[in-house]
Subunit: 227 residues, 2 copies
């Protein structure tokens, strides 16, 4: 479970008791913008893509959720309406759908649950700010490097092994670059011997190069924060 991890077993059980298991197949729509938010979700198995669509068809990937992640709380506790699309992206995708009103009831009666929720939302807020920072980085190289460095990685000797975990198309979407640019950056890095790209995962041979790239390539200081 998500940020509910660490809750005492009895409380966790109470929450699960409010949940209903839902099974979706790949491509199935869970909710769309404007839908009334009556519950939130926890991914038990599979993958869920949450994205927004601009009227011109451009798609922005907002969240990419795997087993253990939860989503929908902000809509439920905030505006009461979903403001994005959610679609199952793996074939057997199973979700726990937690009933909103009953959760709120429980929430009001137990401060531990409230604390867990608040700290969970806080953590996500911090993560989103990091995403914003990432998108504000100039240059595709910097954005990709920044992204890679905050992925969970396995150390294999001096190398880092990072699983893509999503289609490159989706990754490009998330970084707000085109798949073409992504492909070119990877090829260039590989040509310089910084990385080795395989089908399922990526080996980072020189993590420090990536780090410097994420920081903007150089090391000079430009404009100290005025005032």
């Amino acid at each position: 479970m998500p940020h509910l991890r660490g809750l005492p077993a009895d409380l966790l059980g109470s929450v699960v008791a409010l949940a209903r298991l839902r099974r979706l197949s790949a491509g199935e729509l869970l909710f769309a913008p404007g839908d009334r938010a009556k519950s939130f979700f926890v991914v038990a198995r599979g993958v869920v893509r949450v994205y927004r669509i601009a009227p011109d068809g451009a798609e922005q990937l907002v969240h990419y959720l795997r087993a253990g992640n939860s989503f929908g709380e902000p809509a439920l506790f905030g505006t009461g309406l979903f403001h994005a699309h959610a679609v199952a992206a793996a074939d057997p995708t199973e979700l726990l759908e937690v009933d909103g009103p009953r959760f709120l009831e429980l929430f009001r009666s137990d401060a531990r649950l409230a604390s867990a929720l608040v700290s969970g939302l806080s953590a996500r807020l911090v993560e989103l700010v990091t995403r914003i920072e990432e998108l504000a980085l100039v240059g595709a190289d910097a954005r990709l490097a920044h992204f890679l460095l905050r992925q969970p990685a396995r150390s294999v000797g001096r190398e880092l092994a990072i699983a893509w975990g999503m289609r490159k198309k989706d990754l490009a979407l998330q970084l707000a670059i085109t798949p073409e640019t992504l492909s070119r950056v990877l090829r260039r890095w590989q040509g310089q011997g910084w990385i080795r790209s395989e089908r399922e995962r990526l080996f980072v041979l020189e993590p420090e190069r990536l780090l410097r790239t994420a920081e903007g390539g150089g090391a000079e200081v430009r404009s100290p924060p005025a005032s």
Copy 2:
């Protein structure tokens, strides 16, 4: 007050009782990344800029807070550490500094406070997702249009009046474009009669054009500045 608005007076009083008034002058640093978060803040008067700095000196404006806004909760209830810089940006800036531990205590004893906090955080989460969407828009035009359309505006006839409320430099930072590009986009729009830009505020003459631009479809008509 921020998302605490709507709380019964007695509870609000209890919160205020935990607060300490702090007065800062322009440019004064409130906290920096790595500082231990022991309280959160509410702006009573003035302006606070919250930003992150990449090692190469590039600055990303995360929040721009005016009277009534609060900040610092995610750090306090999440990681316990601040992860950004906060600086007073107006000369008489006054803040309410709410003690974290004591707030948590109150929080645990009163579910109404917990609800208010959760819905406040949720709202901010939704707002950040909107910001992410904005940054992912390709083209400076689309980003600026999107930004303008979600600003509070006063209708003056068929026109919209929007106050800048911040330096253009800061706006550019927030949109992840350069001040030069911002200036050029405004000039072009003004040349096409879509807007009228004044020192303190901006009049949108054709909101629908902006809407289409924000949707990414405004890239067609591109004529050089008339005069």
